[in-house]
């Protein structure tokens, strides 16, 4: 128990140290406060926005978008990844087109999204989905392809159906890869928020960041950044914790002193 706490504490040391130095350096005017406002100013801004209630609204708006976008990305990319990982023909057919779209900047897709999906939430979700889908897809495929063939043979000889194979062998075996994909995908969801909320949003953390930049209010921008970083980090940690719970089968390994 105590050890757990100690370990947690270690991770906090570095961030705290950085913030402290940052504040000190700001106090002595060693950084340009127009570009890098002091933590104290950011905190002050935070309190301000909480008091007028707008921060909460911004967070909520983004949170909903990210959650919906991320879940949609999961729903699309995991089955697709399984199909591509298992079926060589489909893979050959779709590979070039996927490989092409993998490279396209999200901003370049905006006109198409507007044309087809309008300027409401659908388009925004689409951009989020697009940002998250490839890490999940590629890691799913990798998870499938690196599944131990020997175990698949065992499952097949035991009469497991294709669906059973997918969720009783491939799924548990690809979990580590899948989690990497999900964690990456989720963080690209957060990252995409600025671009997303340039498109017809009047609320959200990305909007806050963009507004902060345009209105030359760096503390607003950094507040947005901080909150995205913190929420994203929490999600990331939850997912890591989840991963640890699920993937129980890692063996004890040799430890050197």
């Amino acid at each position: 128990m105590l050890k757990q706490v100690k370990i947690r504490l270690q991770g906090v040391i570095l961030p705290l140290a950085i913030i402290l130095i940052w504040q000190l350096v700001s106090n002595y005017g060693m950084v340009n406060s127009y570009i890098l406002p002091s933590p104290h100013h950011i905190y002050f801004r935070c309190i301000q926005l909480i008091e007028n209630g707008s921060l909460q609204q911004n967070i909520l708006a983004s949170l909903i978008r990210v959650v919906i976008g991320f879940l949609t990305a999961l729903l699309l990319s995991i089955p697709l990844g399984i199909i591509l990982g298992l079926n060589q023909r489909v893979k050959l057919l779709l590979n070039p087109i996927l490989s092409f779209f993998q490279q396209i900047p999200g901003i370049a897709l905006i006109p198409i999204f507007i044309l087809w999906l309008g300027i409401d939430e659908t388009s925004k979700i689409a951009i989020i989905v697009y940002s998250a889908i490839f890490p999940i897809l590629l890691n799913t495929i990798n998870g499938i392809e690196t599944t131990d063939k020997n175990l698949i043979e065992v499952a097949i000889i035991n009469g497991i159906s294709k669906v059973g194979l997918a969720y009783r062998v491939y799924l548990p075996s690809m979990l580590p890869s899948l989690f990497v994909g999900m964690r990456l995908g989720l963080s690209y969801c957060w990252r995409s928020l600025v671009a997303v909320e340039l498109l017809g949003a009047s609320k959200g953390l990305g909007y806050l960041i963009q507004q902060g930049r345009e209105l030359a209010q760096p503390e607003t921008m950094f507040l947005g950044v901080f909150i995205i970083g913190l929420i994203g980090m929490s999600f990331d940690n939850v997912s890591k914790g989840f991963e640890k719970k699920i993937i129980r089968f890692k063996s004890n390994d040799y430890k050197e002193d």
């Binding site: 127009y34 006109p111 507007i114 300027i119 340039l198 209105l215």
Partner: protein
């Protein structure tokens, strides 16, 4: 340091931003003719251009000292920056093209004048000159912000949204404006003339201006030269602009008359104070700002060529 009368040694390099779009002829010409490079080389100063198109990056670069001059900075951004502690001086006008900015409506949106905007969906980026124009325009027809729905998006997206019928109206600058009208799916309601100045300016770091007033003067002098050259060689200048921006020469020729590149700041102070008041009303700068003081501190016309 003001007590020390010796001026600091000349800088090794001068960094200036330029924006070539939509048709910023002076910058394009100056760049092509290497006017600044040649002139400053005489003092062994290297002159470097940076294609920084977004005002945010220009201002951040000014604040961090990576940039000494910013060309074609829109007046609202300059005011916002100044109000938030970015120590810059506006030393000259760069361009103004209120004629090249207009409110357009989708042809099926049923809008023929400003009064029809009531209850409509209008897409544009809040906090910009375009937004300023909209507010001024609404005021003329006794409408308020709450009477319409503003959808926040950049102009490029707004054009797409207008053409695909997702919004009823928007305010576009050229060349997006002419594209919209040429498509036959949008009609022009009115231009920005008489509503906003549409002014963009040349700004310098205050630090730099204080240390090297002569270089600032020289800078504007060369800028003026580029303007003179353009006026004297208009066809050539427009051709350069067309090539630089991969545009049709006809489009450039059609747009050019909308632009004024006059450096004069005679009316600028009034315009800037109006803009600052607008920002204050919109809550984008602090409500206790003394706008006149702010603008007085921002503008410095002492470097203007005679």
């Amino acid at each position: 340091s003001s007590s020390q009368q010796q001026t600091p040694a000349l800088p090794k390099t001068i960094n200036a931003s330029y924006v070539s779009r939509p048709i910023n002829v002076p910058s394009i010409v100056a760049q092509d003719k290497k006017m600044f490079e040649t002139e400053f080389a005489k003092d062994n100063i290297e002159f470097k251009w940076h294609d920084l198109t977004t005002p945010d990056s220009q201002l951040e670069a000014l604040a961090s000292g990576s940039l000494d001059f910013a060309n074609s900075l829109n007046n609202l951004s300059a005011i916002l920056a100044k109000a938030n502690g970015n120590d810059i001086k506006v030393i000259s006008a760069y361009s103004a093209f209120p004629k090249g900015i207009a409110l357009v409506a989708g042809s099926t949106a049923g809008i023929s004048n400003e009064a029809d905007l009531k209850g409509k969906k209008i897409g544009l980026q809040s906090g910009t000159m375009l937004y300023q124009m909209l507010i001024e325009d609404l005021a003329k027809s006794n409408l308020k912000k709450n009477d319409i729905t503003i959808v926040n998006m950049d102009s490029s997206s707004a054009l797409t949204a207008l053409l695909s019928g997702q919004i009823d109206a928007t305010i576009l600058p050229d060349p997006l404006l002419s594209k919209a009208i040429a498509s036959g799916k949008a009609t022009k309601i009115r231009s920005a003339e008489g509503l906003i100045s549409g002014l963009s300016v040349i700004a310098v770091r205050s630090d730099f201006a204080k240390n090297y007033p002569n270089l600032v003067k020289q800078f504007l002098q060369i800028h003026k030269q580029s303007l003179d050259w353009s006026t004297n060689n208009l066809d050539q200048a427009l051709q350069l602009a067309a090539t630089k921006n991969q545009m049709d020469i006809k489009a450039v020729k059609r747009m050019y008359p909308e632009f004024s590149f006059a450096m004069s700041m005679d009316n600028a102070k009034v315009d800037l104070i109006q803009s600052a008041e607008f920002l204050k009303e919109e809550g984008m700068i602090s409500s206790d700002t003394d706008t006149t003081n702010l603008i007085n501190d921002l503008i410095d016309t002492s470097f203007m060529p005679q």
